[in-house]
Each structure stands twice: as C-alpha cells, then as structure tokens.
C-alpha cells in the first residue's frame, strides 16, 4: 500500500486505441493489485481491471492542453491509453504503477495475496493434480533401460534441474556427476521423452564445456549409455539448436558443442534457432505492427516480415519435426541442447512431444508437458517473464513461441487437439499474471524454497475445473488426424499470424461469430437429447409392459438456441472470477449492442459531409474521408468496423 501515491483520479479518459476520438471518461483507482478504471456513464457501470503484474511498460507522454497521457502496455498484449487531467496526478500514477508493477521481493507477487475460498486440504489436492511421475509411468518408465536417479536430490548436482531425473540404467552416479561437470550449469544429459513403441528417447542437456579441445570421459560414457538404452539403434543424434556461428563463438568461452570424433556413433546437427535477445526484439517489432493505428495491408505484411517472428516460429517447429521424425520414424534417440538447455531446448523437446504423442494433445497432456519440459526442467520463468524487477535482457518470449507452435499445429489439424485456442491464451495470460504459483521462480529449487505449494494456488486444477471452456468440439480421439505422429507442413504459407493472441483486445478485429461456441452448444444439446431419448425409450418400454397406451410425456422443446455471436463475450477466454480478484477483464465489460444497425441515424454527419464541397471543377471531396467520419456521433460500443481508411 505504501507504494500508492494516489489512490484515485477523477475525470480520466480512456482512449480507444483504434479510433482515439472514441474515448470514455471515468475514474481511475489504484489498488494493491489492480488498476481499475470505472466509466462514468449513467446507468451502466463499466469497469476495466488491469492487474499490476501484467503491466509490461509504462510511458508517460508530455502534457498537453487536454491532459497528460499515460500509455500502459501489458504482457498479455493489452494496451491502455489513459489521459489524466493534471500532470502532477499523472506523474503520481506513473510512479506508483512503476513500483507496483515491478515487485522487488518474491513475497510481493500477486500469487501470495490471491486468496480464493479454498482450504488447505483442497490446496494440497490442487497441487497434487498433476503428477510427473505418473506421466513417466505412462511412458513406461522406469523399466529395464531407464531408471529414476536420486543423484540430484537436494539439487546437489545441478541446482536448476528437478530432483527426479531419469537416466540410462547403466549410468552410475560417478558418470553422471562427471558428465555434469562437463556441462554448463551442471545440466547433464537426461531423459525428457521415452517412446514405448521403439525405445527411442529424447534427452536434453546444456552445452558441453568442450572449448577448443577439451574432452570428458564420463560425458562420452553418458552419451554411450543413452545410445545403448535404445537397443535397436546403432547411432544417435546430437542436436544443437543454436545457429552454428553462435555455437562456435561459445567455444572461445570454454563452452561449445560435441566433437563427433570424441563420441562414438553420434550424428551431430545444428538447427539454427536464434537466441533470446533476437526473439525479444522480434516480438517487440511484431507488436509495433499490431499496434499500428490504421495500417494498410502492405504496412502489415511488410512489418510482419521485418519482425521475423514467423520465421522464428517456423525454425522452432522445424526443429521439433526433425526430432519427432528421428524418434518415430527412424527409431533413433536424440540428445537436444542449446546453451544452458532451458530455452530453445525446452521449446524443441516440448514441440517434438506434441508431434509424437497424442496424449500431449489433450488438455491434461499439455499441462503435464509444460510442467515437465518447462517448469521442472528449469525454464527461467521469473527472468523470462520479468516477474520481479530484474535485468531486461533476461526477458524473452520463449514460452510464447512454444504456445504459438501448438496453435499453428491446431490450425493445420483442427480435429487433433482436445483443447482450443482459448486454453492456450489462458495459459499464456497466467504465465505472466503471477496469480498462480506454477510459474514463479526459475527452477524447482527456488520454488521449493519459496514454499509455493503451501502459500499459493495451482493453475492446472483451476483449468481442469473449468475445462468445459477449453474443449475443442471438433476433437475426435479416433480421428485419423489424431493418431500417432503429426506430420505438419512447414511451407511458409502454412504459418499464420495469431490474431487471437496478439490483437486479443482489439475486439473489432475478430470474427463476429464463433463456430466453436456454436458446435460446443449443439454438442451439449446432442448429449442431452440422447439422454432424453434414452429415457423416453425406457418409459415407452415400461408403458408397453403395462399395456397402458396413454400418450407418452412429450419432450420439452429446446428453447436454448446455441448461438455463435461472439461480440459480447470476447473476454470469455478469461474466466471472470471477480471475487477472486481476477485480472484484466472487468466483471462488466462494456457490451456491444446486440443489434448491428444503429437505430438513430447519424444526426451530425450531414454537416461534416458538406465540408469541402465547393472545390473547383466540381470534384467534391477527393480526400479519402468517409461520409460517416469519426466525428459523427456513433454508438461508441458499436462493433462496426470503420471503412474510412483507404
């Protein structure tokens, strides 16, 4: 509370990003966890809530006659532009928010103050909802080839690895420890995925400390042991996900990559995925394009190309495909690493898992996968998502890219995934929101030290409880698309811009009707009807038995007409748990009118239209102004697109 310099400002304007003249006036409140904007409109109480932990950047612009503008960019890609009447107030809000959005200590994080009405026992169940050991058991582990090693209990061998790790049966603790000393941050090769069908595995590690010529016998033995754990294969791939040049540069720092001559039967391969800094800049550039006020098609496509974002997405997916094919089609094990083995390695291993195993394409499976390859293996969420005030150079949208890869696959295989895009977007929001404990800290050790299981809540059980919102109605477990290895195309034209995530809050850009919602509704109805039919049949049978030919009870006609109009529930993709203090979505979002047509005609448009009408040679208005210019009084909540841009 001590950080709030000014709890309330009146007469604040919230500008519409796309048409700034369409603004709303209201009161701005700062609370310990949220910024809340309450619109002063008679009759309706429109509120916009923004969680402080989602604030990514704040920009105070120079004061003008109308006030002082404060631009807030959020990590979930919401952009808010407030105009605060007095500079002084704006300054105070700016400073307060700056502090509130950048907690210095972990205990200031939202998850520690988020208190839904759940008791300790339920909380324990929440955290037990996902069990990684169960997933390894599902894979068929441990078995005669792979064992659970206790070498990293208490995080002694690698402080960024989880305590439970699977290693080849023949790998002895001295080999593991020896190998870990030859790898960055002690991240020795360990199992990420095991294919029951053919014993091929995906293993992961960090880069070897090979420098120009260093060798390590134990590391070589470790790889040998991995290779031997796949009895049918006589070689394995070692995939370095960095561009070759980056890997070579690392050699000068005593790091580097495996020398094929020193390891028996490995095939070494570079797959050039760029580093976190390139990815950060790329996303920033793409977001600049997304935020252009009225871009032409060319501006947009050029900007998208210049950002390089889709190129990077394709690189990650290409790498995932390479590994998935090696495992499924060649039956060859793969060791994947990058530099530290927690960014690109996590991306590539998890994408490969999604391609390989239909289980990871289910709701629960994707949660497990994120828990396994990202959370347990020490993807540095706190640094990458900038949860705490820290080094901006550590921030990078690595997990965004994974989620987008999954989305791109869903677009290619609409029947193969149990979950919908809303699921991915919700996960994305919560990775950044700090509302749940799952994504706090940089590794398992830190999370244990923070005592997250006892003090915070788990997102996974929340998502599971609300799974009805996240089911893809087209998912068919028995569909041909769903079986075995997914074979996506990575031709450039297969990659799309993910509007639903990056322009999520620009309501006017999205389809106005949702096939998915419609199908979900009729799916539900179909189920109900089937039940009804069954019960009727039963009744008829009973009646027939009794030989009483009275009229069977008539079915209740269905009034509930599933409808797919989406323009009033555009925030349906974030649960609106107001009492729980949820973020971003105000409990009463301004609703679009149900009718499209504006009942009142534009009273003021005429005067505008007559402007500039006496131009020479009878050419009226050659400018591109719409007859229904933005000045005209128009329903501010109308979802209608403006066609004036040309």
């Amino acid at each position: 509370m001590e950080h709030i310099r000014l709890p309330k400002v009146d007469n604040v304007r919230l500008l519409d990003r796309i048409s700034p003249r369409r603004s709303r006036v209201g009161t701005l409140y700062l609370t310990a966890t949220h910024t809340i904007f309450v619109e002063n409109e008679a009759g309706v109480r429109n509120e916009t809530w923004v969680l402080h932990s989602l604030v990514c950047s704040l920009e105070k612009q120079a004061a003008t006659a109308s006030g002082c503008s404060l631009l807030i960019h959020c990590k979930n890609f919401q952009v808010l532009n407030f105009v605060i009447p007095r500079e002084r107030e704006c300054h105070d809000v700016h400073l307060s928010l700056q502090r509130l959005s950048q907690p210095e200590r972990p205990d200031e994080l939202y998850c520690f103050s988020y208190k839904p009405n759940i008791d300790a026992e339920e909380r324990r169940q929440e955290w037990d909802f996902l069990d990684l050991r169960a997933d390894y058991r599902r894979m068929g582990l441990p078995n005669s080839l792979w064992k659970l090693s206790s070498v990293n209990q208490h995080y002694k061998v690698s402080d960024t690895y989880p305590a439970d790790l699977f290693v080849p049966e023949s790998a002895t603790p001295p080999v593991i420890v020896g190998s870990s000393k030859f790898r960055s941050r002690g991240r020795f090769p360990t199992l990420s995925y095991y294919s029951k069908e053919n014993h091929a595995t995906i293993c992961r590690s960090s880069q070897p400390l090979s420098g120009f010529s260093a060798r390590c016998l134990e590391d070589e033995q470790m790889l040998e042991a991995i290779l031997r754990s796949n009895p049918r294969s006589d070689f394995m791939y070692v995939v370095d996900t960095r561009p070759k040049l980056n890997a070579i540069a690392n050699r000068a720092a005593g790091k580097g990559y495996e020398n094929e001559d020193n390891y028996s039967n490995i095939k070494f391969q570079f797959i050039g995925i760029e580093n976190i800094h390139v990815m950060r800049n790329s996303q920033q550039k793409m977001m600049e394009v997304c935020e252009l006020r009225s871009p032409s098609m060319s501006d947009f496509l050029e900007g998208l190309e210049t950002s390089g974002w889709l190129k990077h997405i394709k690189a990650v997916l290409d790498a995932g495909i390479f590994i998935a094919k090696a495992v499924a089609e060649e039956g060859v094990s793969v060791l994947v690493h990058c530099s530290d083995g927690w960014d690109r390695t996590a991306q590539v291993c998890s994408v490969a898992c999604v391609l390989l195993d239909p289980h990871y394409r289910t709701l629960r499976g994707l949660m497990v996968l994120i828990e396994k390859d990202w959370i347990s293996f020490g993807h540095k969420f706190s640094h990458r998502c900038n949860h705490l005030q820290g080094d901006p150079k550590e921030v990078s949208p690595v997990i965004d890219q994974f989620l987008e890869c999954v989305w791109q696959l869903m677009e290619q295989f609409p029947c193969a995934f149990e979950f919908n895009a809303r699921f991915l977007i919700t996960i994305h929001s919560h990775i950044y929101s700090c509302q749940y404990g799952n994504f706090i800290g940089n590794n398992q050790r830190e999370r244990t030290e923070l005592g997250l299981r006892g003090k915070t809540h788990s997102l996974w059980s929340y998502l599971w409880m609300n799974r009805a919102d996240y089911i893809n109605p087209l998912y068919r477990p028995d569909h041909s698309q769903t079986q075995g290895l997914l074979r996506p195309s990575t031709a450039p034209y297969c990659f799309k811009f993910w509007r639903a995530l990056y322009n999520r809050f620009d309501r006017g850009m999205h389809p106005r009707q949702s096939v998915e919602d419609y199908l979900s509704a009729i799916q539900e109805e179909t189920q109900q009807l089937e039940e009804q039919l069954a019960s009727h049949k039963q009744k008829i049978a009973q009646l027939e038995q009794k030989q009483e030919w009275s009229v069977p009870q008539k079915a209740v006609p269905f009034d509930k007409s599933p409808t797919g109009w989406t323009f009033c529930n555009d925030l349906a993709n974030t649960p609106q748990d107001y009492t729980g203090g949820f973020f971003t979505s105000s409990p009463c979002q301004p609703r679009a009118p149900i009718t499209f047509q504006n009942e009142e005609s534009n009273k003021t448009s005429e005067s505008i239209l007559s402007n500039g009408s006496d131009q020479e040679s009878g050419i009226a208005d050659v400018s591109c102004r719409s007859p229904l210019s933005e000045d005209s009084t128009r329903d501010p909540d109308s979802d209608e697109a403006a066609y004036s841009a040309s």
Binding site: G308, A491, P511, S601, E640
Partner: protein, 563 residues
Amino acid sequence: MEFSEHIKTANVEDVVLRQPLHPPGRGTLCITGHHLLFSDREEGSCRQVLLLLRNIDAIEKSVENLLTCSGLFSNAGLSQRLSGSSGTITIKCKDLRVLQLDIPGMEECLNIARSIETLSCLDSMSELYPFFYRPSSASLRDQWGLSSLERHYSQMKELHDRWRLSTVNRDFSVCPSYPQAVIVPKSTDDDMLEKVAKFRQGGRFPVLCYYHKKNGMVIMRSSQPLTGANRKHCREDEQLLQAVIDGSDKGYIIDTRSSQQALQARMTGGGLESKSCYSSWKRLQRQMERGKALQESLIKLVEACGEESNNMDRWLSKLENSKWLSHVQTALSTAGLLAECVERDGHSVLVHGSEGTDSTLLISTLAQLIMDPSCRTLEGFLTLLEREWVQAGHPFQQRCAHSAHSHARLQQESPVFLLLLDCVWQLWRQFPLALGFSEALLLRLATEAYASDYGTFLGNNQQERCALGVKENTHCLFQALLRPRERDCYSNPLYEHTELAIWPSVYPQSLQLWRGFFLRWTPQTHHLEEAQEEIRNMVIEWGKLALSSCPASTRRSEDVQNM
C-alpha cells in the same frame, strides 16, 4: 469445324499421370474434342481422370532431343527412329491444379501437346463444351436460370410505387450489355432513357440494383458519364438521378476510380458527375484496382503459392508484393462504405467506375450481402450472382479467358469475379453462421467461371447468350447447384438466419489468404476439409436427435430439414 483435325494422336498407352494429393498412376490417355481422359490400369484400381480442356491454362512440354528433331513431321523416318524416346507435358489448370503426364514416344507427346494447345482455347463459342454436355439427369427443357428481372420486379411489391420495369432495351439496342428489362424510376420514360444511355459509356444508364427495405434507399449502378474534355452534360441524366432521390435531400455517388483517374477519363471522352450539374449528389472517389493490374496481382500470388521455397521472408514479401490481399481489403472496405451510406446514413447511392461492369458489380454485390439477409441463403446468393453478374453483363468470356498460369498475352482478362468470391469467403470467415452456403460453393464457382460444363458463364452479356441460344442449348449451372445432392454439399450446416447487417472487419489482421482456393491442391487443405466434414456430421447428428425427440418444435430443427 471438326475437332478431329486437331487430334493427330487420340490414344496413348502407358502414360504416367502425376497429380497433387494422389500417387502417380500409369494408364491410358485419350484426347477428345473437349476432354483429356486418363484411365488408370493399375491392378485393383480403376481411377479415371476427366479434365475439361477448357480448364487448361497453359502447358509446358519437354521431350528428349527436342533440338535434333525439328524436322519431325516432314520426315517420317525420323519419327520411327525416335520411337524409344519420351516426353513430359506439364498441365497447369485454371483451377490452379498442376498435372504432369509422362508420355512414351516423342511424336505422341508433341501431338497431344499440340491438340491441347489448340483445343483448350477455341475461339468459337458455339463449339464449347456446354453445347455438347448432355447429362442424363437433366433435360434441356428444364427451367433455365433462377429468376429474371421481370420476376424480381413483380416480387418486389414495395418498388411499384416509384419504380417501373422498362423494356427499352428489349432488342439490346440501347445498351448491348444490359438485360432486356431493367428497373428505373417511374418518372423517367423510355425516350429519356435512350438519351441518358447515349451519355453513359456503353449505354449503361443508371438502373436500380438494390432496394433497401428498411428505409427505402437504393443502390443504382451505371457506367461513367461521357462528359468529355468540354464537360458536356445531359439534362435527362440529371433528371433521372434527381428522380432517384426524390423526396430525400441527397445521394452519394461512389466512383471506383481515384479522382485523378476520373479526371483523366475526360480526355478520352469519359468523366464524372460535376458538382454544379448534380448538386444533390455527393461524390466519393474510392480507387479500386481493375483490369490488367488485377490479373497481374493474381499471377504473382499464384506464383508465390506455387513456389517450393522454404524461406519465410521470401513468402511474406511475395505475398505482400502480389497486392492481392490489399485488393481484397479495398473491395471490402469500399463495399462497407457503400453499405454504411445506405443502411446507417440512410441515403441512396449510385455506383460506377468507368465501364460499370467490374468493380461496380463487385462492391454492389458485396454491399448487398452485408445488408440484405435474403441474399445470404444458397438460393439467394446464386440469384444475386445471376442478376448482378450474369444478367448485369460482367464480361465473363473476356475476363476469364485465361487465369494465372497462362503465358498468352493478356487482353481483357481480369479476375474480378474471383476477387468477389475471395471477399465473400472473408465474410464467411468472419460470420461463419450468417451465410447459407459453404466454402465448397465458392470453390465450385471459381472453377466454373473459367471452365464449365454449363452455359451459365458463357458469353459476355445477355445479348451474346441470346444469339448463341445458350438457354435452349446448354444446361444451367445455378439450377444444377440446387439439386438435392449438390445442395447438401453447398449449404452451410451452421447457417442461422439473421436480419442484422454483417459488417466485415477490414483490418489487415482480420483478412486472410484464401488457402482453400490458392493452396487448394496441398495436403494441408485436406485436413481443413476433414474438419468441415466433421462439423457437418455434428450438425446432422444434432438435427436428427432434435427432430426425433421433439418434431418440428424448434425453429432450428426445421432449418436442418430444409437443408
């Protein structure tokens, strides 16, 4: 003319056909006056591929030792010596499919290639396949077409007060590209119309194209006025337009050219409506790409889609460079503007560009889809296309003579109709429940406009079709699309009638490449088709249950019945 003169080799055995989405097959190739027929001879399968020659946009042939056999046909001995050789013909279709034929025997290969080249672009319309197509399921006596202007007018009772049906063009002498009947303001007589026709390019005087029932406002369309360099004016034209907005204070003219283009048109006899003569009309210039530029845009896009390159930057820059999506954006936003004028601003609009046969029809059609629920059903949409494109004189024969692959010198080709279908697809994407037809219909129309068994898209206007006896001698596509089995495939299972206008979003983020068409022959599209199939099954399943458990008690189950 006998087709056989053009066929030197009618049959070749042992040909290998490679086509997208199928494994290669070996079999017999036949060429007839209108078709290529390939029958697979593999064990256990009997696949046949029948390709309309008219669908072939371009072919490329490569034979071994082509240079040494330039005297092939004058030297009989040589052809024998070369009998062990073979050739390959790559066929690029107007529906963007690319096929490859490996033909044993160089002479056979060259003969086939030559036949395809000649027969795929016959000039004489009466020799085209629609005049020979006689399916057993239909009779030439079946009704041709879905509606006529006469019928349209008689159904629209609310028009009768102020509008009349004029048959001034019954012999096509006033305007060769108009149908015989048109709807005009009641106060303008036929003499006036004749005078107005002389003042408009190609005689396309302003006619009614859409009446907005909610407020009585209308969309008119015409061609440009022939004011010329010395700014002629025509009192009858002014009177006609005044009669349109009778009782209202003003109307809009949406000119689909830039103001500079419109001014330049004066130099060649065209022009625009001056403020002084049309004081109640407010002109809005909205430049839309047309003609050759549009065709080149299509060629570039198709080339980009066909490229094997794996490079993302290259793809995006080629996509941008083609400008196709920009044209989609312009068309939709101009149509949106037009609909806004009528629906929200409550004024009548006259639309024209120069000839009034291309971009004019494009935006007036889209605006009608946006505003009028009755053209969003399957029948409604086909009727709209019949009225606004076929009868209104979009020159299909000229515009669709070649598509994106052709090496022929461009003449009048321009994919305006394809652009319309793309825009309609974008609407369908944004309002997946509001349109009564499926993507499959749009794809079918995109194919049929370029090469067809049916007579619907033959010729450039009604006059030509009358002269050819299209109605008497060919079958009608629109009727065929409404037969029960076709209807199942071409209707949208999710369709829900809505009275609301469907305003499309025209942000670049909201518009997408029409993968179903431009990448139709890639395996990825197949997965999406499977999803559509899945949707259809779900709705059918639901519909059955809804019917069986509460017969006719819900509105929506009736929809399913009617589907």
